[in-house]
Symmetry: C2
Subunit: 620 residues, 2 copies
Amino acid sequence: MSPKITVELLRQLRQAMRNSKCITEPIQAYIVPSGDAHQSEYIAPCDCRREFISGFNGSAGTAIVTEQHAALWTDGRYFLQACQQMDNNWTLMKMGLKETPSQEDWLISVLPENSKVGVDPWIIAADQWKNMSKALSSAGHSLVAVQNNLIDAIWEDRPPRPSTKLISLGLKYTGLTWQDKITALRGKMAERKISWFVVTALDEIAWLFNLRGSDIEYNPVFFAYAFIGISSIKLFVDSKRLLDQAVRQHLELDSPSKPDLTVQCFPYESVFTELEVVCAALAPKDKMWICDKASCALTQVIPKAHRSAIPYTPLCLAKAVKNPTEIHGMKMAHIKDAVALCELFAWLEKEIPKGTVTEISAADKAEELRSQQKDFVGLSFPTISSVGPNGAIIHYRPLPETNRTLSLNEVYLIDSGAQYTDGTTDVTRTVHFGTPSDYEKECFTNVLKGHIAVSAAVFPNGTKGHLLDSFARAALWDSGLDYLHGTGHGVGCFLNVHEGPCGISYKTFADEPLEAGMIVSDEPGYYEDGSFGIRLENVVLVVPAKTRYNYRNRGSLTFEPLTLVPIQLKMINTDLLTQKERDWVNDYHTKCRETIGAELERQGRKEALDWLIRETQSIV
Amino acid sequence: MSPKITVELLRQLRQAMRNSKCITEPIQAYIVPSGDAHQSEYIAPCDCRREFISGFNGSAGTAIVTEQHAALWTDGRYFLQACQQMDNNWTLMKMGLKETPSQEDWLISVLPENSKVGVDPWIIAADQWKNMSKALSSAGHSLVAVQNNLIDAIWEDRPPRPSTKLISLGLKYTGLTWQDKITALRGKMAERKISWFVVTALDEIAWLFNLRGSDIEYNPVFFAYAFIGISSIKLFVDSKRLLDQAVRQHLELDSPSKPDLTVQCFPYESVFTELEVVCAALAPKDKMWICDKASCALTQVIPKAHRSAIPYTPLCLAKAVKNPTEIHGMKMAHIKDAVALCELFAWLEKEIPKGTVTEISAADKAEELRSQQKDFVGLSFPTISSVGPNGAIIHYRPLPETNRTLSLNEVYLIDSGAQYTDGTTDVTRTVHFGTPSDYEKECFTNVLKGHIAVSAAVFPNGTKGHLLDSFARAALWDSGLDYLHGTGHGVGCFLNVHEGPCGISYKTFADEPLEAGMIVSDEPGYYEDGSFGIRLENVVLVVPAKTRYNYRNRGSLTFEPLTLVPIQLKMINTDLLTQKERDWVNDYHTKCRETIGAELERQGRKEALDWLIRETQSIV
């Protein structure tokens, strides 16, 4: 991976920062956040502005360019990758390390007095704007909204915004019609005396309307906004998409069943002016919900007196708690996914000794095997297929110039997942095709102990995920080891592989209590820079737990693994496991053998079945 | 315990809320927080306003009185106690339960439109004012500062503010002179370009000046404020206290060694006007530190442009990280304290069968035995001495009307501690003098497992205490049990038994990373309403841990118990312990026997020594 040469781009950007054609008054710094106007984590090519200017293409990071400096903040998953992708015009700011300044502190330390710091108000979230603006003001600077994006101004061949075909999902997949979802949402709005809800998150809109698109790779969403009123529904979407008969029928555009369930459609670009129109017509007591992570541009249209900014929306929570149909779909998707992975590992075992399998060809094989499964739509994120030292790059993606050959001598880590019409998967396994070293086994076993500690944890109803994070780390901490990422994220159902509002992390923001029906990942790891990476990830469902007692009738919860792919026994130092942990591994493998074995048999995939049976033997 | 009758008091308060002699404009609600003008947790009798109006005398709680309602918010430690102390004019608001509204939400739900909510600006912290004010404004109400406290207006026999003798501590106890501490503080101020620091917390002032008082029972502090400038020191304290020659000498009042270490003294009451004087003389760029937990009254004197509100102060952090002299003192204090407790338990064993020992007489005996130890000053908090069902009242304090006799049939919980000139102690043991039931043993053992999980935890440098809280609960959670309080608090050195900025709790606010030299408590529990209470508390010192590896050179930490009092073996179901846990118990008891045994021998306390030896036998 060679770094992107950014000398000329930075020169052009700095020119734009002073150019009255681009900007009403010169700015001394320009912030380029990661996201799009919907604050999406994964973004369309036309929105990859931070990558365009810096070269760094990880999923999280913010670039800031001043007259003298160019700096990029990202988290521990991406330190190595960012180092490799950026040229030496850029300074990497390693978030989470004590010595790393915050963006605000850094700006204050490098800016001349009374500086103006610019940012595109569509790209920055309202809460970030507020914090940044406050910090800069307190030091005598100011944050200003730059209406025309300065990256777009210098980006000559910027791709157009995608507008892919929409597909509508029936009750069989969703469990609830979009009309039911709107009615439930309006119930919550009425409880809080809210007259409008401005929906800006793409996955919330997709979930609410039971529609999917493919505007953003890996995330089956489409560019849209929606305003849900107590008796009206406004949907902002590229109008070409509504020529499709199936979509028209699904949304009842031509024959609405009820007046208050009539969808009014507007062009995507008219969201700003239409929000102005709606706001102008508000009664004095009317309140509008908008997520505090929505864009600053849209948030500020709503007069403060009418604005009720919420840290996460009722749709976000409703979407996170899967209904029985969604849970069933997720289970089915995970069975199909496990079939593909069992086949992959059986194939790898056979092929690797020939020396012909690379990180890329292994990832391609995984995709090919998944694509043979029913209702396969695509991958849910770029496959992380990494050998040896590449495994220590937490969100590594193999490229021709980094591509390593799988061998009998190095640890192999594969983190991959798919979108099926009935569910979304995300699974990581770390394996060795030869003989792992004692140290590799020790590290793997400590990661496994952490994985089990979370998966088997019993905790009271109402517990937030961050209270479980240390369970995943305790065994590593005992040895002086750790990993610099959270332990788990919410997973959508045929939606984004990362979703809120719950998760398992030492970070405590945006962490709603876990409840039965939520689905999260459990993925501790250990990464030794330059040597190897280990991660063990299952997607798990929050389920009620049976306990001997029931303090204050609160009830207890635990996790049920949805991912059913064997954990490589060869990597485990069983001496380090307690009896309880050994029992957990054996129970898990029995479940893999029974459930996935039956499906492999049904699909007539004999080799993978043999592999599964061998890999799920009991340990003592 | 019979509830306080509050009909007449509430009538008078409501009258005052409308009376133009008390208040410039009528208010529809009045908030009575717990604290004093220094936001102290323990307060002097003249400041017990919330207790005066409601009857509830726990250490935490806020009363709100409206025309129609009177409600009191407190946390899980105090639910039972508050129920018993308040008459039915009051509604108990159980904080931490899902169904309990916040004070803001409750006010909004009960107040008529455009209401005014009053509060004494000296008693409410600036950050609380801000949050409350914002929430009320958003609902059309307003928070107003009521300059004359309305409780004081109706409190006929309110005691005067205490002004006790000050004692000065030498280097032998403090390890650093006050001049050294001021110089170090000024270094931190210079780093951040701060010209003044307004110190309002009583323990910070006591620690900074190496002075102690006894204005507040259990907390060796004195009423004072201090302004520390880059070259001047202003101390606000009752001037009578400065007639004492030893104090004058200690503070070098009559012959300052250096101009910038000259202490200017002002009357306590002049803090407001003197702060106005200092603020009027500020240069445009001058910044003043004040804790965001300082009073709203004082905070608002500082113009916003000069105010730098910080969540915890550098003194708070410096005080939390004990220096070698303080650590040595704390260890000595804990040895003396353990001697007294071994004697107590040996005495209880002998006396209880006679049926003459009560909760109160046991607490008195504990105090008597502690008072025989060198440098004893007083208790560090009211002794919680509780038998059977009283043990379930988490912060129970025996009163004549609740006083129960210790017997061979009920669990006994004693949570007690003392102030010695060299250190502060806080220890809880739960014991049975007859035969505990299997269920009691099961619960005790789960609490013990939690205690050990925290005490033996190894974690990276920089870890915040809240990440350890779940370790204390995991064994209880497995059985469906839990406790509704945090796991640990910071402990001062001959200072407040509860201090910030670190602790171990599921609550994540004001939680600075743990570092070597900090001292916290480790005190999980389990409480069965109406039956029994279990708590197991040691004070522990954060120390560097040796680990096999050292990820990114971060270093690791663990805890060393300072409390060395045997844990009753009879209460343990050893079958529920892992081998590691059994080893921990045995190692701990060996340390108790060696360290406390030697001291008991030196002091010639033979009976207690025999008891100690018997109670520290190995378990298998």
